[in-house]
Symmetry: none
């Protein structure tokens, strides 16, 4: 999943970026309002963290303009402690949640997990499809109760497909959400990962949870149903 971090203070921005990279996100950064506006309108992020106290174009303004452009990804704003007004304005501008600075990473992490989960339309951190269970918080997958040993990208690919189970996901959509902007557009990585996933999830090839929709992409489903 791809996240945009908008924060002018370099140290804090880096700290957040490092943390969420380690947590498995693809992270991009913007240091000021205009940059944030550009990046947010150019790329399909899955989530954004925005400091409202930006120099120049304020964070609230950034969020407002994103929303006016029809951007729907969840936005978490960072407000200075006691700045009641910022918080209210931010939420009115279309932010989904807020955390006051100084904050503790676990708190930000928790709220981001919640936002991300909600935006995927899930009630819980755990999703099951027959014998296949994903734990979004722990980033683990089990088949028939046995944990699978997946690499970061294998897991990312599977999570993206599974949280959109039943719908067709194109290869471009996958690369847009699993890679940052400088991705080689004519690579076949996705095909390779799909292959490896199929082999790891279902070595006997009996479940066939990932169907190919020729010319359109892939669809995660179980059973013969549709």
């Amino acid at each position: 999943m791809r996240m945009l971090i908008v924060e002018d203070e370099a140290q804090l921005r880096l700290q957040l970026a490092q943390h969420f990279s380690e947590a498995g996100w693809v992270v991009e950064e913007a240091a000021d309002g205009p940059e944030a506006l550009y990046m947010g309108s150019e790329h399909p992020y899955d989530l954004a963290v925005v400091d409202v106290g930006l120099p120049g174009v304020s964070g609230v303004e950034v969020v407002r303009q994103w929303r006016e452009q029809g951007n729907t990804f969840p936005v978490l704003i960072l407000t200075a402690r006691g700045d009641w007004q910022d918080k209210v304005e931010g939420l009115e501008a279309g932010a989904d949640d807020y955390v006051t600075k100084p904050f503790h990473l676990p708190e930000v992490q928790a709220r981001i997990n919640a936002l991300h989960r909600r935006s995927a339309g899930l009630a819980s951190d755990r999703v099951s499809f027959g014998p296949i269970t994903l734990d979004l918080a722990a980033r683990t997958v089990a088949v028939d109760g046995v944990a699978l040993d997946l690499t970061t990208f294998e897991y990312n690919t599977l999570e993206y497909l599974a949280t959109r189970a039943g719908t067709v996901v194109s290869k471009t959509e996958l690369t847009e959400h699993l890679y940052d902007q400088d991705f080689d557009r004519d690579s076949n990585v996705i095909e390779v990962f799909i292959g490896r996933l199929r082999k790891k999830i279902d070595p006997q090839n009996t479940l066939k949870p990932i169907k190919t929709v020729r010319g359109a992409g892939y669809r995660f489903v179980l059973d013969g149903s549709r």
Copy 2:
């Protein structure tokens, strides 16, 4: 584990600091309210000891503000004997336990152990994973009933991983909780300790209790389970 001691009286502060250093904690100190507020919001401590009778911003106030910021680490407050009110206010502000001054170190030690254990979500001082058993109070580890000879840091590293068994712990997280703020960020100590731990716990390399999650950190887990 990293602890913050907030106490204005230098002699007492030093006594506590020395005691808990020897007990294996990484100890940092604050001498007044503002300093305590700053440090508590800046660093991810695992526990704090706060004297309520601070000049300037009172200890109760410090705890209240920490809690408002979403800080969750356990807090033990020190109150003057007979100062009934302080104790009540402190607990209401979000402290977890109290000790009245003058106190006996063993008592403080015992309460801190209890708080720390509870915050790790453990019911007992003893934790087992298959043949591996840690005794948090005695800071000892045994494999198949045979005691291991671990150094302070080796034990600390193992304890941190084991009390979070099943989840991925990043190297950054480890250094944040096992070292104080002036830690050389591009050191590979953690890797070295992980290596030594693996060798000591499991010389035949059959249990493989510490798994590497490339790019993310380490995960303590036994068998294929979870």
